[in-house]
Symmetry: C2
Subunit: 254 residues, 2 copies
DNA sequence: TACTAAATGTCGGTA
DNA sequence: TACCGACGTTTAGTA
């Protein structure tokens, strides 16, 4: 793990270091005054301002201002970074094909450039996802209702994969759609589509039930469910959800 | 615009600089070996590894590895950053309430810390959005079909706001749902909900038409539309979309 | 590669 | 603040 840093480099210096960093597969940050042009699925243009540019060896680029979780402009992985000096500015361009997209960042001033040698970026395991809720339901089908018997998960249908499919105590087919958080009209619509698909599969006249399993539901979604004769059952994904206490308290240092 | 950089600082040094940077409202980057714990709407835990932590004065935090556009962990704006030294590690914690969420980053080694003084982050104007498509349709209603007359945009309904509402040459109500890109089943469902809502508003038996205006449509979505007696019309948002040539060619520097 | 839906989605507008 | 839908969504899983 190393970090090579240039303070207020001349554009030529920055360029050399950038190209070396790309070759090494480093993670690079650039901070300075720049303009940003994007063209591809959409297009945007950003006037001069102070921004942080992050360039990853997998081709991702991120342009961050001092606000917001979302980068003001970006390029997804799979792009290719190139750098050049043009018209007295340092230009960093990330290009990808399919779709054809170009991100152009032009620095009039580079305050700092740093190249970090990185090794291994493990991916996260998140707890409390819809998949966890599914495990919970399969382990305890009574969460849906007494007598519910799950027969399949991710069951294919004409309308797409059904989270959990089963039968109720009376033998009627039941489509269960799981959501890890409070749901709106879209989820009700999704469930309705799946129920319709199963109704087309089953013999004419078979009653197919639909259950939206989610912590809570908006009024509009509830009305939609009622319209379609569908049901809401309250349940949450296990654990993780809630207090936000990453670990026990201790005061901040000083 | 300034940058204060510490190389391989002792945790205490890093802590002082961090707190000073928070006070100044600086944008901070930390690179080093750290673990990450998140707890809130969900939860996750990440073992030791080399990562880049970005702390923004608006409360946002981003933990980036060397891969991916999406941070491996994060905290949205509105959080509060605090730092401490505990058990021989530098701990940076971002906390927010509503929902209660905590992000805990613990560095065993800090390779580099930089505090950037930033001023003013203008927001981007994107060209080629759904809003632009709406402008296009209102300016040229024949895009929907000859004789279409738009009466309202963002028209309120029982099922939510309708992008464009109008009447066809025969005086029948038409619901138009706009999408800037190729659509799937969800968009078809959305249009169906809006059409149903208008049918409830209109006198019994009134035929209400639904048009999904989008560049293209998947098979499944097309089948859903057919099921509901709805239509697809091909159209794209104006400009921006396409070649990905941010500006004319020139080779990269060397 | 295309389709389908999840996501700690985030973000903006509105009631 | 909650609801609602767009987003250059991104990402993962599957056919």
């Amino acid at each position: 793990m190393t970090a090579t840093t240039l303070h207020e480099p001349a554009h030529r210096e920055a360029l050399w270091e950038l190209e070396a960093a790309f070759d090494r597969g480093d993670l690079v940050t650039l901070f300075g005054t720049c303009t940003v042009e994007y063209d591809g699925r959409a297009a945007s243009s950003l006037g001069p301002g102070a921004r942080l540019l992050v360039l990853k060896p997998d081709g991702s680029s991120l342009v961050h201002t001092d606000e917001g979780r979302t980068p003001v402009n970006w390029q997804p992985p799979g792009s290719e970074h190139r750098a050049a000096v043009r018209d007295g500015r340092l230009r960093v361009r990330s290009v990808r094909t399919s779709p054809a997209e170009t991100l152009d960042v032009r620095f009039s001033v580079v305050e700092q450039l740093t190249a970090y040698g990185v090794t291994g970026g493990r991916s996260v395991e998140v707890i409390g996802s819809e998949a966890d809720l599914k495990e919970r339901v399969l382990a305890d089908p009574a969460l849906v209702e007494d007598g519910f018997e799950p027969l399949a998960s991710e069951r294919a249908s004409d309308a797409g994969p059904i989270d959990v499919f089963g039968r109720d105590a009376a033998g009627r087919p039941v489509v269960v759609e799981l959501k890890r958080r409070r749901v709106g009209p879209d989820a009700a619509g999704q469930l309705a589509r799946y129920v319709s698909a199963i109704e087309r599969e089953e013999p004419d006249g078979t009653e197919v039930r639909g259950v939206l399993l989610a912590p809570s539901i908006t009024d509009r979604a509830r009305a939609l469910l009622a319209d379609e004769g569908l049901e809401h059952v309250a349940a949450e994904p296990p654990a993780g959800n809630g207090d936000g206490d990453a670990d026990a308290a201790d005061a901040d240092g000083s």
